[in-house]
């Protein structure tokens, strides 16, 4: 097994864990954490492909990852803000009980 394949496996695992958390957990905060895990799996892929790609000296993958982390930070802030305001409104973070958009 090449080192690249190892990184990709770890990333795939991380992504699966994140996806599972986001789909199964009922607590909104844990869902958010799951989403963050998926994002980080993608970051890991970016770094790995860059490092073992044809131009490891060009720093492109690192730039991608840093941008993605910055965006993720902003997204986390917005997401937490949403959750707090939803909590204030509905007095719960249980996603199954927040179903006011029901048709």
């Amino acid at each position: 097994m090449t080192p690249l394949a190892g990184y990709l496996l770890v990333a795939a695992l991380l992504f699966a864990i994140g996806l599972g958390g986001a789909l199964i957990r009922r607590n909104a905060i844990l869902v958010l954490i799951g989403i963050e895990l998926m994002l980080n799996a993608a970051n890991l892929n970016l770094i790995a492909f860059w490092r073992y790609g044809p131009h490891p000296e060009a720093l492109t993958g690192m730039m991608f990852a840093i941008f993605s982390i910055a965006v993720a930070a902003a997204e986390a802030a917005v997401g937490l803000g949403l959750i707090i305001s939803i909590y204030r409104h509905a007095q719960t973070t249980d996603l199954d009980r927040i179903n006011r958009m029901k048709g």
């Binding site: 789909l23 996603l95 927040i98 958009m101 048709g103």
Partner: protein
């Protein structure tokens, strides 16, 4: 001639060159107050200080620019150049025809700019005191600023169209300000009357403008030889005949003069001006005494080359003769009426009409300088008289009837002192006051007029009447015993100070127009002025001085003998009324001009209105009702079709849609994670298909 005709030869005209700083920025003079008016219009009622500050600040800025422009022209004059700079531009281009606008800086506009901005600024300052308790303070300053801007635009315009637009704008602001207290029915009626009466003159003015454009092909007055007031165009106007023995120049001149008759309150269109006194007093001072009503005189002065074109050997034209006679008749006519009025502002209003008549006569006989000099001096002392009247009205608790005043010189010393100076200037009190010099210039040229001596006698008689009615007014208001109810009080400093400054100028302005040093005349006509004190010793001057003295002292003497210090009770009939009741009644009722219009023009319109009303109700109304009935029938038919066929099908369709929507809505659980799971599932399926299809 008494006034020395040019010690030096006439100046050479200015050679066209790059526009100077003064003329390039001249447009700012009217633009700044107009912008200020726009800003004030957006302010809320309580922003009093800001709105007054904006109005005064913008006009102050205009005044500075006007002084710069004046200094530029005066510097040109001092170095022997008759400055006339223009900036012209095309406003609308339609095919080969173009509508050009522009502005002009010459001695005429420079003098007028300085006068309008200076007097205007003082009256603005006075207004902050006079209107202090009015709830519509900001609206007042908005209108006042708009007026100032429009008036300044009128003064500088080099295009007859631009002049006409500003002319109508000042007419509009005049309407708005006369009707400022629109809750008073009399004020609303006076505003309407002013607007419609001046409209009569304006229509003729418009005709004259269109004719001028058709004949000369240009709207500009001066355009390096191609303007309508310059040789080439005037030559064409003289050679074209307009019928009735008039050249086109004469006919157009008369039409434009008709506009001036309306705006400057000349007989027979003077009826609106006395009624315009319903507006606040600062408005009467600024618009209906000093500036706007003088716009007619200014217009005639501006198109003077046209009026004078094709002059006969005696130096005059039909247009100028008409102007002279109308002016002289107005001067006496209004002065007669002024004698028998009891409203303090109405007396002044008729006096304004009369003085405007003097200006017109001065223009007709003596030329631009004579008429304009009286315009400038009159602007100062007449606005001062109105401000004084405002101060009196303010001090007497909104009382306007002179019979209920009296003895105010003890209560209001400042107002009395300034009012007395202005009154003496208006009467033409010899030597000391500006009014004497400007009125004498008119009388002097009238005396030398070759056509007829009629205007001279009329104007001299008018001067006696002027002294008479002003003395009558002053003795009623300031002398004798107080006849009102509450004691009067002096006005605040912000009102007295502008009056004091105006009083100063009412005296000093005479210095620039004496026969010994006719600076004003030389400045306007473009030749040198030399001081020549020996003129005072000439028999012609002494004779004129003698006539003036006799005239003034006769007027003042008779009036003082009849009214001085008598202080009759308010209900007692007037001294003149006792002597000649019939004449008095005629004068008191304003010589029945209004009544005459009532039974002629207005009766005619009323009859027409009745006919139109009948036509409207019976004929046109019947047709409209018939059409309406037909459409109602159609509408009933439509409704029947709608209800029986269309509605049924539509309702069924709607029901189906509604059930379908209900079924689809069940898919929306509202749970985020359900959506996510479906998304994930779809993703997995998609991935499986992709892998499956791309296997080797």
């Amino acid at each position: 001639m008494l006034i020395q005709e040019g010690a030096a030869a006439a100046f050479h005209p200015q050679i066209a060159g790059p526009a100077s700083f003064a003329v390039r920025n001249l447009w700012l003079v009217p633009a700044v107050p107009i912008v200020a008016a726009g800003v004030i219009a957006l302010l809320k009622q309580p922003r009093r200080k800001l709105s007054a500050g904006l109005a005064i600040g913008s006009l102050g800025f205009s005044m500075l620019l006007a002084f710069v422009a004046f200094a530029h022209v005066a510097a040109g004059w001092a170095s022997g150049v008759a400055v006339r700079e223009t900036v012209n531009f095309t406003w609308i281009q339609a095919g080969t025809a173009s509508v050009a606008l522009g502005w002009v800086l010459d001695p005429l506009s420079a003098v007028m700019l300085v006068m309008v901005t200076f007097v205007g600024l003082l009256i603005f300052i006075y207004s902050t005191g006079y209107m202090a308790h009015d709830e519509n303070f900001t609206r007042f300053f908005c209108f006042l600023s708009l007026f100032a801007g429009a008036m300044l635009g009128l003064v500088i315009s080099n295009s007859i169209l631009l002049l006409f637009m500003c002319w109508e704008l000042v007419g509009l602001t005049s309407y708005l300000l006369i009707g400022f207290w629109y809750h008073k029915p009399s004020a609303a009626a006076a505003a309407k009357k002013a607007f419609m009466t001046t409209r009569v003159g304006d229509v003729l003015f418009l005709l004259g403008m269109v004719w001028l454009f058709a004949q000369t092909g240009t709207l500009l007055f001066y355009n390096n030889g191609a303007g309508s007031m310059e040789g080439w165009a005037l030559g064409g106007l003289i050679s074209a005949h307009a019928g009735l023995g008039l050249t086109a120049a004469g006919a157009i001149g008369l039409l434009i003069f008709a506009g001036a008759v309306g705006k400057s309150g000349q007989f027979p269109l003077h009826v609106w001006l006395p009624d315009a006194m319903e507006g606040p007093t600062p408005v009467s001072a600024l618009i209906h005494a000093a500036t706007m009503v003088a716009a007619g005189v200014y217009l005639v002065a501006r198109v003077y080359p046209l009026m004078q074109a094709g002059a006969a050997a005696n130096g005059t034209t039909t247009a100028l003769i008409v102007i002279t006679w109308i002016g002289s008749i107005t001067a006496v006519f209004a002065a007669l009426i002024a004698i028998a009025q009891n409203d303090i502002k109405r007396i002044l209003a008729y006096s304004t009409v009369s003085q405007l008549g003097y200006m017109m006569a001065g223009l007709g006989i003596g030329g631009v300088a004579v008429g304009m000099f009286h315009l400038i001096t009159h602007a100062f002392f007449k606005s001062l008289l109105f401000l004084g009247a405002g101060s009196v009205i303010h001090g007497c608790h909104e009382e306007q009837d002179v019979r209920h005043m009296g003895g105010l010189k003890a209560y209001m010393p400042w107002t009395f002192a300034t009012y007395a100076i202005a009154m003496l200037a208006l009467c033409g009190f010899p030597l000391l006051f500006s009014g004497f010099w400007s009125k004498d210039a008119i009388l002097e040229s009238a005396k030398g007029w070759e056509i007829s001596k009629g205007p001279y006698y009329l104007l001299v008689f008018g001067a006696v009447l002027t002294a008479f009615y002003m003395t009558r007014q002053v003795s009623y208001v300031f002398f004798g015993k107080w006849r009102g109810h509450h004691p009067a009080h002096e006005s605040p400093r912000v009102m007295v100070l502008p009056m004091a400054i105006l009083a100063l100028f009412a005296v000093l302005l005479g210095l620039i127009g004496t026969p010994a040093w006719p600076w004003f005349r030389s400045f306007l006509e473009g030749h040198g002025a030399e001081a020549n004190l020996s003129v005072f010793g000439e028999p012609a001057f002494l004779m004129l001085l003698g006539t003036s003295c006799i005239v003034v002292f006769l007027g003042i003497g008779i009036a003082w003998w009849l009214y001085g210090n008598r202080s009759p009770a308010a209900e007692e009939p007037d001294a003149l009324e006792k002597a000649v009741p019939l004449v008095w009644a005629g004068l008191r009722d304003r010589l029945y001009v209004d009544e005459f219009y009532d039974v002629t023009v207005i009766a005619f319109y009323r009859a027409w209105a009745r006919v139109a009303n009948w036509l409207d109700r019976r004929v046109w109304g019947g047709i409209v009702a018939g059409v309406a009935l037909a459409f109602r029938g159609l509408a009933h038919l439509d409704r029947l079709i709608d209800e029986s066929w269309v509605n049924g099908g539509f309702d069924k369709g709607c029901e189906e849609l509604s059930t379908g929507g209900g079924l689809l809505a069940r898919m929306q659980t509202g749970r985020v994670q359900t959506y996510l799971r479906l998304l994930a599932l779809a993703f997995v399926v998609l991935a499986a298909i992709l892998i499956w299809s791309s296997r080797p």
